[in-house]
Amino acid sequence: MINYQAIRVIYKYEMLRAWKTLLQTIASPVISTSLYFVVFGAAIGSRIEQIEGVSYGVFIVPGLVMLSLLTQSIANASFAIFFPKFTGTIYEVMSAPISFFEIVVGYVGAAASKSLILGIIILLTANLFVDLNIAHPFIMTLFLVLTCISFALFGFIIGLWATNFEKLQLIPLLVITPLVFLGGSFYSVSMLPPVWQTVTLFNPVLYLISGFRWSFFEVADVSVGISLAIIGLFLLACLALVWWMFKTGYRLRN
């Protein structure tokens, strides 16, 4: 038995909240993407040669999308669950006849949907600056969706774990942002010295960006199969962790 009504209202009212701040929701990614293009694409990019046959301005598009997708998925989902915890309104969700499954589908689904829309907006904005050709639209969509869902789940875990606003910001700031910048968002790993190439292979975000980039240009640092496997594993690990958190009532019911 699944409480579909609960999933529906959680999803609906989470989306409604974004709708109210629509301007902010759309304007900020459009502006920041444009800025990246002006700075990296036009100013610096004109001095950088093509990377593996792709002009620099085009090359950074997948990395830019991933950068926003990761940070926004985490921010959306962590805030969505942290805030009710913080204000106390979570009592209602806890006292309702719903399982962790419905809570997660509602909140994580909404957070992932929002960042998916964001990813599409960024791609459209990028398309204004450069000519984008997507070699494998299906694989690209798969990466987009999987990334949104798994990082929204990860954000949800952070939101459950965080007991204050500092902790809420801690992991995105200290872990995610560096991993994204060092994961080859703005360069190809092959441009690094050999030692750093090896170190970078331990960065999970590299696999994401590499696979995503492959779906555009058929250019990759690691094989696409490995990329998909890594993101799949990450998704499963997050699911297991959330399941455990709800099962034990972690920081919610004790």
């Binding site: 009504q5 209202v9 959680i10 006292s95 006849p97 004790n254």
Partner: protein, 307 residues
């Protein structure tokens, strides 16, 4: 009769190590109004939170309508509505959206007519499009009640419903409680105001330091523990009590025109007949007689002291 809520040796130790409930046993019956009375920190909110699924119990069990609240939580939570102690509401949702959200959370299909009537009953209909942050404290309390009733629960918990509430809302609330109760809804409310329990409840449970000291019908409780006082108005004031009446431990009023006799309603004999006879023998003429019962307040104070 099978209880609608059955609590068996329920204990709660918080992660901090604090024991908030010690082996509480309590049966709540369908259709009654039960008041849980106890000072701040007694464990009232903890007890309610466990039954509603917000906090997990450490040991013991709770059954609602015969179903276990842990393994059959979908059935039990469906039957329960909760009005929390704190005014915990989102800021930017509208009244209409928040009650629709609550109804959906509990798995019920949207029902515009029902929610419209509910908001009208709570004088919230005019405010349906207002954002929650624009509402006064009293209005927020009404919204919390509307949310709790949005899924048509059979059992309603009200956690300190009148804390910080004005007279008008208080009266509205009691009217609503009686109306719901008449339609068969079981009501459990917590309070640390004794008058409140006395005013509204059928039964009263007294809780202190995590222990349920006793539960009884309000009437029984007062009879069982209550003392009665007999106020005797004399035709003529007296300076002091005649020695032959010493055994009755009478008190006199300041003006000497009244005598107060305190007796135990549980006692085999109240001693009233003998007292009246002795008064007559001592030559004191009575003008009037009045008896009064101890308030719950006094019962409560004596119980908590005895602990």
């Amino acid at each position: 009769m099978q209880p609608i809520v059955s609590i068996q040796s329920l204990s709660k130790v918080y992660d901090s190590g604090y024991q908030a409930l010690c082996a509480v046993d309590l049966d709540i019956f369908e259709g009654e109004i039960l008041a849980l009375l106890g000072p701040n920190g007694a464990g009232k909110t903890t007890l309610i939170s466990i039954i509603c699924g917000i906090v997990s119990g450490s040991t013991g069990s709770v059954r609602v309508a015969g179903h276990d609240i842990v393994s059959e939580y979908r059935i039990t939570r469906d039957l329960i509505g909760l009005v929390p102690q704190e005014l915990t509401l989102g800021a930017f949702d509208t009244v209409w959206n928040t009650v629709n959200f609550s109804r959906g959370l509990f798995g019920k299909k949207p029902d515009v007519a029902y929610l419209e009537q509910l908001l009208k009953d709570l004088s919230l209909w005019d405010k349906r499009d207002s954002e929650l942050r624009e509402l006064s404290g009293g209005m927020k309390r009404r919204v919390l009640i509307a949310k709790a009733l949005s899924h048509e629960p059979r059992i309603l918990f009200l956690d300190e419903p009148t804390a910080g509430v004005d007279v008008e809302l208080r009266q509205d609330m009691w009217k609503m409680v009686h109306r719901l109760n008449d339609s068969g809804v079981t009501i459990i409310l917590t309070t640390h105001y004794i008058e409140e329990a006395e005013e509204i409840a059928d039964r009263v449970g007294i809780i202190n330091q995590g222990q349920l000291l006793l539960v009884d019908d309000k009437k029984n409780l007062m009879q069982k523990l209550g003392k009665k006082q007999l106020l005797i108005e004399l035709r003529h004031s007296i300076g002091q009590i005649p020695p032959e009446l010493a055994q009755y431990e009478l008190e006199t009023s300041a003006d000497g025109a009244h005598l107060i006799y305190t007796y135990d309603t549980q006692g085999e004999r109240t001693g009233i007949t003998a007292l009246l006879q002795d008064l007559h023998n001592a030559g004191l003429a009575m003008k009037d007689l009045k008896s009064s019962q101890t308030s719950l307040e006094e019962i409560f104070v004596s119980l908590v002291r005895a602990q």
